[in-house]
Structures are given as structure tokens and as C-alpha cells.
């Protein structure tokens, strides 16, 4: 019996050998070659160093020590597409970025693979309805693997990589890549909307025959409401302090009248009034500038502060005719308005007389329409307000693509002539720019550049190595956050705020929650307040670790300090994940509380983190970097921002404090329970990149101090939310609320018309406004220093472009 079994086993082995090892035919020989080639190829996939949005952060985390992409042979992210064979589309593909991506893909050598990471790259994601979002990269590139999740965790990405490896294993040498005809994809062109050149004949035909582009006409168009009425009483019913009283008197002398919680200044006298406010009343800091679209008029809204003392904002409005909106620019008075005015122009079509360079900023020149006007309807426009009536009871699914003639998220003006389209160029348009001085050179850094913190572009005019001028180019990650925000119900915006500054989802949540609470006058239970402060300060530490890591990366300390920073990030994220369920996109805060109490195992871990691990880690970072020759040599005296300039350019957060201005929203206008904690507002005097680095280390220590107090005073069990409703209707009115986020002042300007959706939802993003001074800071420095300056500003593109 034993012999028989042995014989069977032998036969089985023989069979196995014949099948897998022995080479008995030409075909077998070839397949052996196949396997060797595939093995080599799949075990050395080199991804391109290329990140788009939130998912890119998880991609970086995957490459770091905890998940270690190198174990799969995908060691180093390649800075150049020519050295890479794997493109991980990590994040939202915007219409502005899509041509760049296709161009990069075309430069990669065969065989090349594409991995689509996250819901946005797979199919548009939560931003699918947005007017600047491509619904899936597969419209342009042949995708090999789709990784689900929003965002996929590092392990999910690794699973995707293994799936790709399996796919490569199945490839055959006989049907090798170089024999395969791959259809050439021309980079799409940004016309009045994104144009896929392969569709051009179809578009030409459709437009000439005036075929409807929306296959299903929208049931209801968005409606405009009248602007707030002008009241005759001096203060508009609000209780004002003596300080406000004087400012109001000054404004009143220019003919201003109160309206809807703000002062309405006549456009003709606004410049004079602004100068008077700045010079006689000390309103030296323009925090926020935006607009709102009303029936018959568009209102520009300004929120002003005094950096010398604490207190709430002075809100000023200037009204302009909706058909031809124009107001005087305040850029000469407050230079910090420069980018914000451009944004208002881009979104509302409002012109600012006297602005030095008024042009589109988030979309591109030639884009058709003013997106944030209420009557602007995107290609996938469904209904004016969420929830949509098509989703429930008779929710027969129709993909958004099906409702559009071009099966894309595009819509062209009826009178547009497709032949007027500029031809697709081999490189970006600025290459064609003629320079009058031939000693000068125009260099484009980004939007795909290892040192630009994501999809950010700097057009740098050089004379030798010196920067003569620098122009930041935005919008490569413009995901129509505000347009979506005005269609969402109030609570629906909460998870969207996670995706603003994707390092700081907890603080973004806090800022939005407190803003709406201010609007509604809600109360928050004690325990929830403590949890909120705890999460916000943990976020600050996490963000500052990462900002230091990224900064060093950009100085050339490739990846090492960042790996240390990412270790601490992982540990903090573990706690976030434990409490909220997600590492990055926490969606943890609710109006009047937080979504769930901390799990039982949380506090012991938190306590050890605060008392043991974090102090050690900060000291480590401080001890090894702060006195380092390289760090000091590269950063001291670079990108100096004097206190006066910092205030004038509306810098906020660490950038402002590194210039010696002691201003912290947590102290100037305390929110949540920050007034109960003891902490200092550290400042440094020089305002250079080195001080901006040091301020972050100092702030981490202060955050730790707050966390220790949170630990000490943490209240016992109790409710963590007053009333968790999914639909709220705040009273009619408006609010500008700001929080001291790790990157600076994050403000929300919200207008409620008493309904379940915000009428106006504006995010004053610290990263965006901090970039206003970038050109100023870089001029005269070397090209390499521009990167250091950008790193020291610590920007996050999700928040810059929104």
C-alpha cells in the first residue's frame, strides 16, 4: 500500500515537473521567457513621484517605513516620467490637470502601467458633480488596476499593487508590449471646457446641429434671493463695543449703512473708507475677501481685523450691479487682497478696478462661465439642492455620464466654434512666451514637480540663477468645493471639509462645526469640547511634524526626516482611526458635539502618547535639525517677511508669528474652550524660512502643553453631542468664523437663508492666502531657495485650490 501511495506521489510530482519546470516545446521555452520577463517586470515597478490630492498622502505613507513599498521592489519614486513605469493616479483629476497627466503618461517608456487610486481617480468621487473634475482617469489613460476607497488605506494600495503584479504575471512575451498597438491619446485641450480631441468631430457636429447637450433637462434652476435689506439704525441691531462704535462712525461718514450684520459701503467711496479704516482705526489686517451672488447685485464682503488687539471682525460689504459688477480694488490698501480678488473675479466675474493683474486663477483663461454665480449649472447639474429627489422611492440609477451627450463632465457654449481651439502643443503654453531679454529664462516648476507640495505651479523668471519674478499658478486641484458646498445640506459639508487640508481633517471639522454652531447658537457638552481640543491639537502636532518633514525633503534631505515625521503621523492617525473610523478623512465632529464617544482603549494610549512618545519625538526632531549646519545655511535669511509686510500680505498662523507678530486666533478670538488653557503664543523675530521652521517646533511644544491640560482636566463619562441631527435649518443670517488651524487662519463665511442648505459657503483657506506673499518673498533669491520658501510656508493644495 505504501509503495502504491509512493508511486502515486511520484507520478504527481512528475506531472508537476512536466507542467511547470520541464521545457518540452518551443512554446514552453517561450513561456519560460515570459515568466522570467514578467517576474522581473513586476518585481521592479517604479512608480512616478507624482501625487494629485488626498490619496497622494496615503501613497507617501505606503512608501514610508510602516508599510514599506520597497518590499515589493517599488523602491524609489522616480521624479521623472522617463524613469518610471508605473503611474499611480492618486487623487482627483481636474480638468486643468488632465492635459498634464496625459502628457506625463506619454513621456513614460513602455511597458507602462497605470493604477487608479481612490474614488476620484476611479470615477470622479465625491467631487464628480464639480465643474472642474474629470469623472475618472480612464477617459484618457488605459488603467490597469482600480483601487477602491476614499482614500484607500496603505494596505489597500498594496493590495492594488499586488493585483497589478498578478496582471503582469499574466502577460505574454509573444504578445509583447512593443508589438501591441496602443491607441495614441492626444492630451486634452482646455477650451471653454475641457476638450477631448478624439471627440472633436462629434462635438463639431453636435454643436452645428444644435443638439441638446444635456440629455435630460434640469427639473429646476437655482434661484436667487434678494440681498439683506439696508437698515437705518446705526448698528443694524447688533451690540457693538466702543472700538466698533468708532469704526462704524468712520464708515458712516463715508455713507455706509448697516445691512445683514455688516456695513454696506457705497462703491464710489470704498477706497477712501478703506484707507481711513486702516490708517485711523488700525484695521491693518484683511483676513477674508469674498463675494455672494444675490438678485440684482453681487456683494463683495471684507472681514477686517486689527492685529494689535483681540476681537471680532469688522465686516464690510460693497454692492455692485449683477450685470456689470465692478468695485474698486483694495489691493493698494491691503496687498493681501491680491489673490482673493482674483478668486472673486474668477468665480463671480466681478472686476476689481485698479487690481494689478486681474485674471482667472482657479480655472483657466478661456473657461466659460462664472462658476459661483447661482445660475451657473454644471454639466452634471441635477437639482438646486440636496438631497436630490431622484435618489429615493423611485431611485432608478442613471449614471451621470449617461445624461450628457459627450458622456463626459463637459458642456460647451452653444455659440462656440470648435475650430477656434488652440492646437494641442507638445509643451505647456508658456514655453512659447517670447522674452525680450535673452539673458532671462522662464522656468516652469510644476504642476508635476517633486518639490511643489502637490499640483502647484510656479512660473519663475530667472536671470542666471536669480529669481527676477515668480508667478504662482493655481487651480490644478480646484474641485469646486464651494459650489458643491452650496448645494449640500449643512451637515453634508462636514466630510467635504476633511478634504480641504487633508492633514488636518479634525481641525477643519472643528472650524466648520463651530462656525455653524455660532450661526445657530448651539451648545456643546463639556466632554465633547475636551475631545475637540484634544483632536485639534493632535492635528497641529501631526501637521507640524509633516511640514518639517516636507520642508527638509525640499531642502534636499531626501525622505529621511520625512520618514521620521511619518512615523509619528502613523501613531497619531491610529488614535484618529480608533475614535472616528478613518485615518485621514475623520468626519468626526458634528454640530453641537462629536459623532461618537472615544472608545474605551483610547485614553490610556493617548495619555502615553502625550507623556512619553511625543515629547521624545519632538525633542528628537528639534535636536537633530534645529542646529544642523545644512538646515541653518539653507534657511537663514531666506524669504524674509518683515512684520509689517506679513500683516499687509494677510499672512496668518505660523507664518505671521515667525515674523514677530503675536497673533493667534485661539487668543485673539477664543473659540471652543481654548480660553481655559494655559499656553504661550511663540514668536520669532526674523521672519525668514528658518524662523518659520523654528516656530513649528515651538508650537508643537505648546500644543503638547495644552494636551497635558486636556489629559488632566478630561471630564468623566457624559454625553458627547447635544443633538445630532442630519438636517438643520440655521436662522437667516450670516457668520464669519475663524479657527487657528495648524496652517493659519481657517475661516468659514456662511450665509443662511433659513433653509436646509447654505446660501453661500466660503472657505478662507490659510494656505491660499499665505501664498499671496510668495512672489515677494522669493524675488532676488536663488531658484533653489524658492523651494525652501514654499516649503516653509507649508501649503496644502487641497486647501489652496479647494
Amino acid at each position: 500500500v505504501a509503495g502504491e501511495a509512493g508511486g502515486e506521489a511520484m507520478r504527481a510530482i512528475e506531472e508537476e515537473v512536466r507542467r511547470r519546470v520541464a521545457v518540452l516545446s518551443w512554446r514552453g521555452l517561450l513561456s519560460l521567457g515570459d515568466r522570467a520577463a514578467s517576474y522581473g517586470r513586476r518585481s521592479s515597478l517604479w512608480p512616478m513621484q507624482f501625487g494629485l490630492a488626498c490619496c497622494a498622502i496615503e501613497m507617501i505613507a505606503t512608501a514610508a517605513s510602516r508599510f514599506d513599498l520597497a518590499r515589493f521592489g517599488s523602491d524609489i519614486f522616480r521624479g521623472s516620467p522617463r524613469q518610471a513605469d508605473l503611474m499611480i493616479i492618486s487623487g482627483t483629476v481636474t480638468k486643468k490637470m488632465a492635459p498634464v497627466i496625459v502628457r506625463l503618461y506619454d513621456q513614460m517608456a513602455e511597458p507602462k502601467y497605470v493604477m487608479s487610486m481612490g474614488a476620484c481617480a476611479n470615477g470622479g468621487g465625491p467631487f464628480k458633480e464639480g465643474y472642474n473634475v474629470v469623472s475618472g482617469i480612464d477617459e484618457f489613460l488605459p488603467v490597469d488596476v482600480y483601487v477602491r476607497g476614499c482614500p484607500p488605506t496603505p494596505q489597500a494600495l498594496l493590495h492594488g499593487l499586488m493585483e497589478l503584479q498578478k496582471r503582469i504575471d499574466g502577460e505574454s512575451f509573444i504578445k509583447a508590449w512593443h508589438l501591441r498597438k496602443r491607441p495614441e491619446v492626444p492630451p486634452p485641450v482646455a477650451g471653454p471646457d475641457l476638450v477631448d480631441l478624439r471627440q472633436l468631430p462629434e462635438i463639431r457636429d453636435g454643436l452645428s446641429r444644435s443638439l441638446p447637450q444635456r440629455l435630460k433637462a434640469p427639473k429646476e434652476a437655482p434661484s436667487l434671493r434678494p440681498p439683506a435689506a439696508v437698515t437705518e439704525s446705526a448698528t443694524g441691531g447688533a451690540v457693538v463695543t466702543a472700538r466698533d462704535q468708532r469704526a462704524h462712525e468712520v464708515l458712516a461718514s463715508f455713507g455706509a449703512k448697516p445691512a445683514g450684520g455688516a456695513f454696506l459701503v457705497p462703491a464710489a467711496r470704498w477706497t477712501e473708507a478703506a484707507v481711513a479704516l486702516r490708517d485711523t482705526q488700525g484695521y491693518d489686517y484683511l483676513a477674508n475677501l469674498t463675494a455672494a451672488d444675490y438678485e440684482g447685485s453681487i456683494e463683495a464682503v471684507y472681514h477686517l481685523y486689527r492685529t494689535k488687539d483681540a476681537g471680532p471682525a469688522l465686516a464690510v460689504k460693497v454692492r455692485a450691479d449683477r450685470n456689470d459688477p465692478e468695485v474698486p480694488s483694495v489691493t493698494p490698501v491691503w496687498p493681501g487682497a491680491a489673490l482673493q480678488e482674483r478668486e472673486v473675479f474668477d468665480m463671480f466675474g466681478m472686476r476689481f478696478r485698479g487690481h494689478p493683474g486681474l485674471k482667472r486663477i482657479l480655472t483657466w483663461d478661456g473657461f466659460s462661465g462664472w462658476p459661483l454665480r447661482k445660475d451657473f449649472m454644471e454639466p452634471y447639474y441635477d437639482e438646486p439642492r440636496k438631497p436630490y429627489s431622484t435618489r429615493w422611492r423611485e431611485g432608478h440609477w442613471v449614471a451621470a455620464e449617461e445624461r450628457n451627450r459627450w458622456r463626459r463632465n463637459v458642456l460647451y457654449p452653444a455659440d462656440w466654434d470648435p475650430d477656434s481651439l488652440p492646437p494641442s502643443r507638445p509643451c505647456a503654453p508658456e514655453c512659447d512666451t517670447e522674452l525680450e531679454d535673452d539673458r532671462r529664462l522662464l522656468v516652469s516648476l510644476g504642476p508635476q514637480h517633486p518639490s511643489t507640495h502637490g499640483v502647484f505651479q510656479m512660473r519663475v523668471l530667472l536671470e542666471g540663477e536669480r529669481i527676477v519674478d515668480l508667478e504662482p499658478v493655481f487651480g490644478y486641484l480646484h474641485r469646486s468645493h464651494e459650489k458643491l458646498g452650496e448645494r449640500n445640506a449643512w451637515l453634508m459639508n462636514m466630510p467635504y471639509t476633511d478634504r480641504l487640508d487633508y492633514f488636518c481633517s479634525m481641525s477643519n471639522n472643528l472650524a466648520y462645526a463651530t462656525a455653524v454652531e455660532k450661526l445657530c447658537g448651539m451648545k456643546v457638552p463639556e466632554r465633547a469640547e475636551y475631545i475637540r481640543v484634544m483632536m485639534a491639537e493632535l492635528t497641529r502636532i501631526l501637521n507640524h511634524f509633516m511640514s518639517v518633514g516636507f520642508l527638509l525633503n525640499e531642502l534636499g534631505a531626501m525622505f529621511t526626516p520625512m520618514l521620521y515625521a511619518l512615523e509619528e503621523r502613523e501613531i497619531i492617525l491610529d488614535l484618529f482611526e480608533m475614535a472616528s473610523g478613518s485615518r485621514m478623512m475623520c468626519n468626526y465632529m458634528r454640530f453641537s458635539g462629536v459623532s461618537a464617544d472615544l472608545p474605551a482603549e483610547f485614553m490610556p494610549l493617548f495619555s502615553r502618547l502625550v507623556t512619553e512618545r511625543l515629547p521624545r519625538a519632538i525633542e528628537h526632531m528639534d535636536g537633530f535639525l534645529t542646529r544642523s549646519d545644512l538646515v541653518m545655511d539653507r534657511m537663514r535669511g531666506i524669504g524674509v517677511l518683515t512684520p509689517e509686510k506679513a500683516v499687509a500680505w494677510s499672512a496668518s498662523g505660523p507664518v505671521l508669528r515667525a515674523s514677530g507678530v503675536k497673533y493667534d486666533v485661539r487668543r485673539a478670538e477664543p473659540y471652543s474652550i481654548y480660553d481655559r488653557f494655559e499656553f504661550e503664543v511663540p514668536t520669532y523675530p526674523n521672519g525668514d524660512a528658518y524662523d518659520r521652521y523654528r516656530i513649528r517646533i515651538a508650537e508643537m511644544w505648546q500644543s503638547l502643553r495644552i494636551l497635558e491640560q486636556v489629559l488632566k482636566g478630561f471630564p468623566g463619562p457624559g454625553p458627547v453631542v447635544e443633538r445630532n441631527q442630519y438636517s438643520i435649518r440655521p436662522p437667516e443670517g450670516e457668520v464669519y468664523h475663524r479657527c487657528e488651524n495648524p496652517k493659519g487662519e481657517l475661516g468659514f463665511y456662511l450665509v443662511s437663508d433659513g433653509s436646509a442648505n447654505p446660501y453661500r459657503y466660503h472657505v478662507r483657506a490659510p494656505s491660499f492666502v499665505n501664498l499671496t506673499a510668495l512672489s515677494e518673498m522669493c524675488r532676488g533669491h536663488l531658484l533653489a531657495d524658492a523651494v525652501a520658501v514654499l516649503g516653509s510656508l507649508d501649503v496644502m493644495m487641497g486647501e489652496v485650490d479647494r
Binding site: 517605513s65 510602516r66 508599510f67 518590499r71 474614488a119 470615477g123 470622479g124 468621487g125 465625491p126 464628480k128 475618472g136 490597469d144 488596476v145 482600480y146 483601487v147 477602491r148 476607497g149 476614499c150 488605506t153 494596505q155 489597500a156 493590495h159 499586488m162 496582471r167 441635477d382 440636496k386 438631497p387 435618489r391 429615493w392 422611492r393 423611485e394 431611485g395 432608478h396 440609477w397 459639508n493 466630510p495 478634504r499 529621511t560 512615523e567 502613523e570 501613531i571 491610529d574 482611526e577 473610523g581 478623512m585 468626519n587 461618537a596 464617544d597 494610549l605 502615553r608 512619553e612 512618545r613 542646529r627 549646519d629 545644512l630 458627547v720 443633538r723 445630532n724 442630519y726 438636517s727
Partner: protein
């Protein structure tokens, strides 16, 4: 006093120390002295998770995509097609068709329930506000696929998981959910005016911190 190059040398020494420590950690690990991925707030550094041979233990609340629970014993879907999940969903990726009886009247069952996973932002609000404990967040994350369609749209049959499956991966939440259900059932049994009051809709009772 600043000695040129000293700080750089210190930095390099740190890297060397870190490099050597990996061997110590590795040796301890191969001896089974430390569970993988258990480094944490008290320790220094971080240990690599050897995915796919080992997986990081995700916390219970970890969420990816929504699922619909059905009763293990009866096979009955808990969902009543009330539509709250579709109404709270921020990107509006949930589509529900309510079932109709032979008489044409609506019945409290979903005929079709569909989630566009390429739109879903994994926020978990559908589960948070589901009054019938029917929509819950699943923790499966290994969801990579080679084709976009049709896997990007999850239909009723793809979404259904048994209560036992979910209870196994979410023991704490399951226990508190059952507790709440019992209280509600008891309140229903007691005639009006006495006993416990059911939690009013819209108010989420905090999960007990144990």
C-alpha cells in the same frame, strides 16, 4: 560653538543607530517577543507591517463602504427603504427603489438599493443616521479590481451581509446596538405612560465607553 559638519555627523549616526536597531527589533520579533504592529504611543519608532503575510489590525470603527444587514436566522433584510441614508449621503451616491406590493402600495422593503462606490466618500453618515441599524459600515478594504465597470456599482445583492458577519467584526458596536434594540422593544411592549422612553429620532445615544 558651531563645529562645521558636527551636526551632519550626528544625523548620520542617528541613521546608523536606527539601522542597527532594526536588527534588534527583527530579532525580538522572530523570537515572538513583540506582536507585529503593536508599537504604539509608549514605544519609539515603528515596525513595518509585513503585508500581505500579516495585516495591521484595524480598529473596530474602521470604515470603508456601507453594507446592508440581514438577520442571520430569518434572512430578512433590516432595511425598510425609509430613505434616510439616501437623504444624508453627502455625495448622493445611494439610490433606493422602494418595493411595491401587488396592490401597488409601497412596502417597507427595498426593491433595489444601489451604491456608486466611485462616488462614495466613505464618510459613514448613512450608517450613523440609519434608524433601523440596517446600514452599517464594512471594514473590508482589499477592493482593487482590474475593471472599472460593473464593480463600481454595488447592488442590493452585493451589499447584503449577515448580522453574524458584522457582529463578528464589530463586537462592541454590535453589543451596544443590541442593547438599544432591547430597550426599544421593551419600551414598545410597556403600555404608554410607563417604562423607558425610546430615544427620540435624530438623537444618537453615545456608544458607551465601557
Amino acid at each position: 560653538v558651531r563645529v562645521l559638519g558636527l551636526e551632519t555627523a550626528r544625523g548620520l549616526l542617528l541613521t546608523l543607530r536606527h539601522f542597527l536597531r532594526t536588527y534588534v527589533v527583527g530579532a525580538r520579533r522572530s523570537l515572538g517577543m513583540r506582536a507585529p504592529g503593536k508599537e504604539g504611543p509608549g514605544s519609539a519608532g515603528i515596525v513595518t507591517v509585513q503585508y500581505p503575510e500579516e495585516r495591521r489590525e484595524n480598529p473596530e470603527r474602521f470604515r470603508v463602504l456601507p453594507v446592508l444587514l440581514y438577520e442571520e436566522e430569518t434572512g430578512e433584510v433590516r432595511c425598510t427603504a425609509c430613505g434616510i441614508c439616501a437623504r444624508v449621503c453627502p455625495p448622493q451616491c445611494i439610490w433606493i427603489v422602494q418595493a411595491k406590493g401587488a396592490d401597488g402600495k409601497a412596502r417597507p422593503k427595498p426593491e433595489e438599493y444601489l451604491v456608486e462606490t466611485n462616488v462614495c466618500m466613505n464618510c459613514g453618515m448613512c450608517a450613523e443616521f440609519c434608524p433601523f441599524d440596517a446600514v452599517r459600515m464594512d471594514n473590508r478594504y482589499e477592493l482593487a479590481e482590474r475593471e472599472r465597470r460593473p464593480g463600481d456599482v454595488m447592488r442590493l445583492t452585493d451589499l447584503m451581509v449577515s448580522t453574524r458577519y458584522w457582529a463578528r467584526s464589530h463586537p462592541v458596536a454590535w453589543a451596544s446596538m443590541e442593547e438599544q434594540r432591547r430597550i426599544r422593544a421593551a419600551a414598545k411592549a410597556v403600555p404608554r405612560g410607563g417604562g423607558l422612553t425610546p430615544p427620540s429620532s435624530g438623537v444618537q445615544t453615545p456608544k458607551s465607553p465601557a
